[in-house]
Amino acid sequence: MVTAGVARIGATTLFLLGEMGRMLIFLLSSFAWLFRPPFRPWQFLKQLHFIGFKSTFVVVLTAAFTGMVLGLQGYYTLRKYGSEAALGAAVALSIIRELGPVLASLMVTARAGSAMTAEIGIMRITEQIDAMDTMAVNPLQYLIAPKLVAGLIGVPLLVAIFDVIGVYGGYLVGVDLLGVSAGSYWSSVESAVEWQDVYGGILKSISFGLIVSWVCCYKGYHTGMSAEGLGKATTEAVVMSSVLILVWDYFLTSVLL
């Protein structure tokens, strides 16, 4: 019984190590194909439109309400210490350092990441990826590489939008509804937020963008060959991307601080 338990742990460990290796090879091969002709800028723009532009509405909505709830919570907490004037700093730092990159990436995972896995998975099941191979068009180059680059560029842009809308959301609640002075809100934002905070947020969002597109493309590309398999792949892609974003956020924050 003990032997069976150890064997199970060993098999799981080997599987996980193998999976990590396959994922890394998938990523490196896709990037290698990116630098070989023919180049397909139109494919990249199409993916940037899908991952970036089409996620704007949901990101703006999330940012607005996140900023507003931070304004609300921050105001009543700071009022206990007579520090309402620091509301702008509290909202802006929370959003720019943490909530902007993390929440925007999670929303992209939910909206665009799951769709990427499903789209690539269906192409795999219906042999469209094999068909591409038979036409001597490399699927990693045509299908995957543009999505990876679009994730790398699209997510930081969305995070930038999230940051601006979020800070304005806090302003709306703090200044317009609860009566904090506009001057003290903006001056506390200006004095508290440093370039390093913005830089750290951008760095995080680039790595989160890569995580989302990498994991979601990989899971779709290697989906099980059935409807059930595709459902499982999509769930795994969303869960794995979300968990990796949160875990990676912790490690990156501990390095950046």
């Binding site: 023919p38 269906i122 192409m123 219906t126 042999e127 469209q128 094999d130 068909a131 191979d133 038979t134 036409m135 001597a136 068009v137 490399n138 045509y142």
Partner: protein, 258 residues
């Protein structure tokens, strides 16, 4: 026929987990001929076909396309060999997000990088040849099963390949439509002279259209012969299999086979 290529499989073995699918395939596909591979379901006919174009790699053995062994070839070199090929998949494998026109134009744009007027000319020509003239603007989801196969055939033909692989091209079609697709394949084969390899269950239909027949059984090629000779093979297992679909030409059905 001068530009048709030959495929030769030598001792090809393939297993998925514990399941040994191909157990030493020795097979030569003659250049410029239409060879059909028949055999019971689940015997690995499609697996065999995918080995010929390098979509699957053998565990052991060699796959020769003309003078190149594609077993274990790097993807860039494999892509060079694949330029000789086209394949019509069971479900046609058309790209959902592209129109029929763009599907057929795909290899011309992506591989040959032809200018748009030339692409349009060649695509329209192929769509007309397969009876889909004027349907280029439709998406695959708007097409019937037969029309999808025709569009897939147009995409396979548009690059004027030396070899075309057909993976059960008539599966899921009614007998009339199946015959139409078969006729279309034969017409195109005669016109362009490519090497054709077809996996099919359409017995006895395939005997009339194929030059050669090979039968896959228990992971090996049980027999291969010109179509006429194949129907006269007396091996009981082969006779039983080919008699089920209806009496073969010039041969009585097995007693009791219906």
């Amino acid at each position: 026929m001068s530009n048709a290529a030959t495929i030769k499989l030598v001792g090809v073995e393939k297993a998925f987990g514990n399941q040994r699918v191909l157990r030493g395939i020795h097979l030569t596909i003659p250049a410029g001929k239409l060879t059909t591979i028949i055999g019971p379901s689940g015997e690995g006919k499609s697996v065999l076909l995918k080995h010929m174009i390098g979509l699957l790699q053998p565990d052991r053995g060699e796959v020769w396309v003309d003078e190149v062994n594609i077993a274990g070839l790097k993807s860039r070199d494999l892509n060079e060999v694949r330029k000789k090929f086209a394949m019509l998949f069971q479900g046609a494998a058309l790209f959902d997000s592209l129109t029929v026109f763009d599907n057929v134009a795909f290899p011309l744009r992506e591989k040959l990088r032809l200018p748009q007027p030339e692409v349009a000319k060649r695509v329209d020509e192929k769509l007309e040849q397969v009876g889909l003239a004027g349907m280029g603007h439709k998406y695959p989801a708007e097409l019937s099963g037969g029309m999808k196969k025709r569009a897939g055939l147009a995409r396979a033909l548009v690059m004027e390949p030396e070899i075309i692989l057909f993976d059960e091209p008539t599966t899921g079609l009614d007998p009339l439509l199946a015959k139409t697709i078969h006729d279309l394949i034969v017409t195109m084969h005669r016109k362009f002279g490519f090497t054709a390899v077809m996996v099919s269950h359409e017995i006895p239909g395939v005997f009339a259209i194929s030059d050669w027949i090979a039968m896959l059984k228990e992971g090996k090629i049980a027999a291969m012969a010109p179509s006429g000779e194949f129907q006269r093979i007396q091996d009981p297992a082969i006779r039983e299999f080919i008699s089920v679909g209806g009496p073969a030409l010039g041969q009585p059905a097995l007693p009791g086979s219906g």
